[in-house]
């Protein structure tokens, strides 16, 4: 730290250091005042942090300004009603060329496929989390946790490609007939779709995609439950499952609900894999094996080739609705997870 005296400016050009000042102090005083640099750096960092709000505001304003045309023409009706064919009285949900626009089939498809995904994914991911935190031998835990993390890192498009080539044929040949045979009485499974695409296939691929998110967050909230809780329940003579049920799951339930909602948020907005397997037919079917469409899929399919400005603005409005819904769902989920993990060090998913 002691500078070479020859490199310092000559005496007289800098403030005279006190006689007893150390070499370091002399050196630092020669460096001048850094208040401006400090303040500048501080504000630069504040600006970077502020840009996150800026991004949200920017997305919101862009989506709102580009969807005004649809809003003025249809209003809230866009989300709840559809035009009907005057002759046959069948609904005309989405016919961009003839100017019929309604978000109804897309909202329906998004909700149905996401709920299917949750029904499949929630028990599995809680099972994985329970196994990894409470039962798994230590040596295996690292590997399995890594594998589930990898599952989260695989891009949506690869899930889609795999689903089209492997999952959809399996659904068509084996799963859909089974569902129709054993659950056909509910009226929800009518196997009249020769493609194998549809709500169910989309639900299955979505389930695979949201599993790692739900299970890693569930794991996090389960780890946040203090060990004394487990020990107390075990000391009362509980079996391991009783300990997990009363000591861990009950304490972590708010966080687990948060994890599930976060998974729901991911499922609602998932685009590529759903686009490739849901069938992209803007209709509403009671049968879960029928072709459908989802909000994100219709944007991905039609945005680049929108036929009119109204068409594009309708697609933007669907995007705006998706944006608002995912923001609300994610905020809710984060609040719930925070309620449980507050106090333990944060972790990025």
């Amino acid at each position: 730290m002691q500078p070479d005296p020859a490199s310092l400016p000559p005496e007289g050009q800098r403030p005279e250091p006190p006689a007893e000042a150390s070499g370091i102090r002399k050196y630092l005083m020669s460096r001048g005042n850094s208040a401006i640099a400090d303040a500048g750096f501080h504000w630069l960092m504040v600006l970077c942090a502020f840009s996150i709000f800026g991004i949200v505001a920017l997305i919101a304003t862009e989506l709102v300004t580009h969807s005004t045309e649809t809003w003025h023409k249809f209003g809230l009706r866009f989300f709840f009603q559809a035009d009907h064919d005057p002759d046959t009285h069948l609904p005309l949900f989405w016919d961009p060329v003839n100017g019929h626009f309604s978000a109804l089939p897309f909202i329906y498809g998004t909700i149905v496929s996401s709920i299917l995904a949750l029904i499949i994914a929630v028990p599995l991911s809680v099972g994985v989390a329970v196994f990894l935190t409470e039962m798994c031998p230590k040596a295996l835990r690292g590997i399995l946790a890594f594998l589930t993390e990898l599952l989260a890192a695989i891009p949506s498009i690869i899930y889609g490609v795999w689903a089209v080539a492997v999952l959809v044929p399996i659904m068509r040949e084996h799963v859909n007939p089974l569902l129709a045979t054993y659950l056909g009485w509910t009226g929800l499974f009518v196997d009249d779709n020769p493609t194998g695409l549809g709500y169910t296939s989309a639900g299955v691929i979505l389930a695979i995609m949201i599993l790692p998110i739900i299970s890693s967050l569930t794991r996090e909230v389960m780890t946040a439950v203090p060990h004394s809780q487990r020990e107390a329940v075990l000391a009362l003579g509980a079996t391991r499952w009783e300990m997990i049920r009363t000591g861990v799951l009950r304490n972590a339930r708010i966080g687990i609900v948060g994890a599930i909602i976060l998974g729901l948020g991911r499922a609602l907005g998932e685009t590529m894999a759903v686009t490739m397997v849901i069938g992209n037919t803007p209709e509403i079917h009671r049968s879960l094996l029928a072709n459908g469409a989802s909000m994100s899929a219709v944007i991905a399919n039609e945005y680049a080739e929108a036929v009119t400005d109204l068409h594009r603005s309708a697609l933007t409005e669907i995007g705006l609705a998706l944006f608002i819904v995912t923001i609300i769902v994610n905020a809710l989920a984060r609040l719930l997870v925070w309620a449980v993990t507050r106090g333990t060090p944060p972790r990025v998913i």
Partner: protein
């Protein structure tokens, strides 16, 4: 009599305990299965088409032998470079603010929360926003604006990187012990200098890891690119024109009716997944070795 009931009850408890253990193991197996299935299938279908041509030639029309996805790979690289230029400095800056200046303040909590929420916004929304912001306005004197361009896609990807990098950088900076900061400040080093050369430097392996994670995430993104970069079957590295990207090309090839193109899609998927798995494994290796241990 009493003991008999107790033994039935304890047998039942033991049975449920075992049953739950079995179900948990089963669930884990079911979850790991698709991962292995995807890998095995990609290797089985794609490995044969990954050769030198794949990395050096442009896609041939269906029916012709040979060809590769060189333009898509280069296009992806250009887009990711642009995204990193936008996302990495702003993201790290946000992380520095959260960890060094804003600790415990309401503003910092709001930023952290918004970053987490922004992380969950679907990527297709980023694409729509980038389209509305860059592709749709017709301002003739501005470069990149008013038409499909690589620039618009890079912006969308860059914006997606910011929240992830902000949060990981913050976490890594929080792991740097306070003694290190105090030592620097005790020597009279200005605050900004102490942050950049001491704190960030100490946390740099972790921060780089976070950046790689964000990079790996956007490398596979397709949805924000469909109507921003549009795709391009020919050589183009210009940010001012439509450009190709590997995930986007995989999407087009996979939905085409040609077997040749399907094979290329498999090969492209294999290359993409190998790159991402390498990045994630590296991240895992670096973090599990405890980079931060040297600091504490």
């Amino acid at each position: 009599m009493n003991t008999g009931q107790n033994s039935i009850r304890s047998q039942w408890r033991a049975f449920t305990d075992n049953a739950v253990t079995f179900l948990a193991i089963l669930a884990t197996a079911v979850v790991v299965l698709p991962l292995l299935a995807i890998f095995a299938y990609l290797l089985y279908k794609g490995a044969a088409s990954v050769n030198l041509d794949f990395f050096t030639k442009v896609l041939k029309p269906p029916g012709e032998v040979g060809g590769g996805l060189a333009n898509s790979i280069v296009g992806s690289a250009v887009l990711l470079a642009e995204a990193s230029v936008i996302g990495v400095p702003i993201g790290i800056g946000g992380g520095i603010f959260l960890a060094e200046y804003g600790r415990g303040t309401k503003f910092a909590n709001a930023v952290r929360f918004t970053a987490d929420v922004l992380n969950g916004v679907p990527s297709i929304i980023m694409g729509v926003a980038a389209y509305a912001l860059i592709v749709s306005p017709h301002i003739s004197w501005l470069p990149f604006v008013g038409h499909f361009s690589g620039f618009a896609g890079g912006v969308a990807l860059g914006i997606m990187m910011i929240p992830t990098i902000t949060r990981t950088s913050e976490e890594m900076l929080l792991m740097v012990p306070n003694a290190v900061r105090e030592a620097a400040l005790g020597l009279g080093v200005p605050n900004w200098r102490s942050i950049l050369s001491i704190t960030v430097r100490t946390a740099s392996p972790g921060i780089i890891t976070g950046c790689m994670l964000a990079f790996a995430r956007v490398a596979g993104e397709t949805a924000p690119l469909i109507f921003t970069v549009l795709g391009n079957s020919f050589w183009s590295t210009s940010l001012n024109r439509p450009i190709d990207a590997l995930p986007l090309r995989i999407y087009v090839l996979a939905l085409s009716p040609y077997d040749d193109w399907h094979r290329m899609a498999w090969a492209g998927s294999l290359v993409l997944i190998v790159l991402i798995v390498l990045a994630v494994s590296l991240v895992r290796y670096v973090t599990s070795r405890g980079v931060m241990k040297g600091a504490s």
